[in-house]
Amino acid sequence: MKKIITLNINGDDYDLAIKPTDFLVDIVRDTVGLTGTKKGCNIGDCGACTVLVDGRPILSCLTLAMSVVGKKIKTIEGVADGPELDPVQQAFIDKGAIQCGFCTPGMILSTTALLERNPAPTEEEIKHGLAGNICRCTGYVKIIDAVKHAAVLKTKEGTDVR
């Protein structure tokens, strides 16, 4: 039976009619219409569906929509500040870390979570943090470069006097 619930996605409240069996990835993509979040394997192996819930990177394909009521959900659409790209997004562009782009939203959200906890990760720490995001274009070298670059950009952003 459907219930009306409210989900807070990228700072906006959405009133949604959902069933207990609805997964967050499908609600975000098909009901809310934010298709930046990708659905790959659908069983938690590929990381394409990664979103942040209260700042933690989670797999939206293994998350029941009802379980995130009252929490702050961030998808790739909520990363940029208006037309201003987030440093992580800019770093992926600067380093050419995008090929087909399917894994990119998940990569960027995993990177965001990683840098939040560890602002200057080593290469090993980057690999450990992104191990759950699979890129089928095999662009890992540039992705790791981009994460290192993002760490630098974010640190600069933090110290800039604007």
Binding site: G47, L64, S67, S110, K127
Partner: protein, 293 residues
């Protein structure tokens, strides 16, 4: 994707949780992180009538370290929290390490150690370390609690000692005595997002002379239907002097007690050899840790 319908309940307190569990004991499944349960539901291996989400039960969240009692980890604590906890790093570094090897960052942010243990997979990363620590489980239900050594928790392949209406509430890792250490070693097919071919947790405690074995425990994973202790090896190793011959013997005895099968990840023969090597290395590392090397 069509899923068999289920009801969804999200208790906020232990009282609500226990009431739901006692009322729906036979048809409900607890949802902690969902990284195992919801995969099984999607694959139609499980079709629970009700899912009880314990994600918002604050009384199941947290880690406390007490010099006398040891380390208590409540069942709803996320694996990533265990991985990064300063208390776990100090009092059970091998557990922090094993937690970091589980799944991916996303899985660790969702999953709980209780889920890892209750799911009952013989290759679960945290189980051998908990066996090595001699962890004690607090199992609760409406109107009561009991304690159970973790070595008595797994009964058969994916079958645990939890009775209908019961749930795992907490893990207690007794404080390590002086001159003791726990280590974890594993082998997988690749560096991440894999299921271990073999994993092992060892506990080594030395006499005052820092060379005679006072106590050992060996928790073995992926070499039988459940994670289990190599009790015969443990009995034989006690009282030995720690040297290279001891490390080799420990590996040999653990391998002798391993009962692996051939499967897609490794042959039984290779698993036995791995168990020998990993046990030897883990004891060697534990010895170095005790000596402060």
């Amino acid at each position: 994707m069509h899923l068999e319908p289920f009801e969804y309940e999200k208790p906020n307190s232990l009282v609500e949780l226990e009431a739901l569990l006692s009322k729906h004991a036979d048809e409900a499944r607890l949802l902690a992180g969902g990284t195992d349960l919801l995969v099984l539901v999607k694959e139609k291996i499980l079709s629970p009538k009700m899912i009880i989400d314990i994600g918002d039960v604050a009384a199941l969240q947290g880690i406390t370290a007490d010099p006398a009692k040891g380390l208590t980890i409540l069942a709803g604590t996320k694996v990533s929290t265990i991985e990064h906890s300063a208390e776990v790093k100090e009092f059970a570094p091998a557990l922090s390490f094993a937690a970091a090897q589980l799944g991916s960052s996303q899985v660790r942010h969702m999953a709980t150690m209780a889920g890892n243990v209750c799911h009952g997979s013989p290759s679960a990363e945290t189980s051998p370390v908990l066996l090595a620590h001699g962890a004690v489980l607090t199992i609760a239900k409406a109107g009561g609690e009991r304690e159970l050594p973790i070595s008595d928790f797994w009964l058969a392949y994916r079958k645990t000692a939890l009775a209908p209406g019961e749930y795992l509430k907490a893990f207690t890792l007794p404080a390590l005595p002086k001159n003791a250490a726990v280590e974890y070693a594993f082998k997988g097919l690749r560096g991440a997002m894999e299921i271990d071919m073999v994993n092992v947790g060892v506990y080594l405690e030395l006499e005052e002379d820092l060379e005679t074995v006072k106590e050992v425990r060996i928790g073995m994973g992926a070499v039988g239907p459940i994670p289990y202790r190599a009790v015969k090896a443990e009995a034989e190793l006690k009282g030995m002097k720690v040297d290279d011959a001891f490390f080799a013997k420990a590996g040999e005895l653990a391998a002798a007690e391993a009962t692996p099968i051939d499967d897609v990840r490794a042959t039984a023969d290779y698993r036995k050899k791995l168990m020998s090597v990993l046990t030897r290395r883990a004891f060697s590392a534990a010895f170095a840790r005790i000596k402060g090397e």
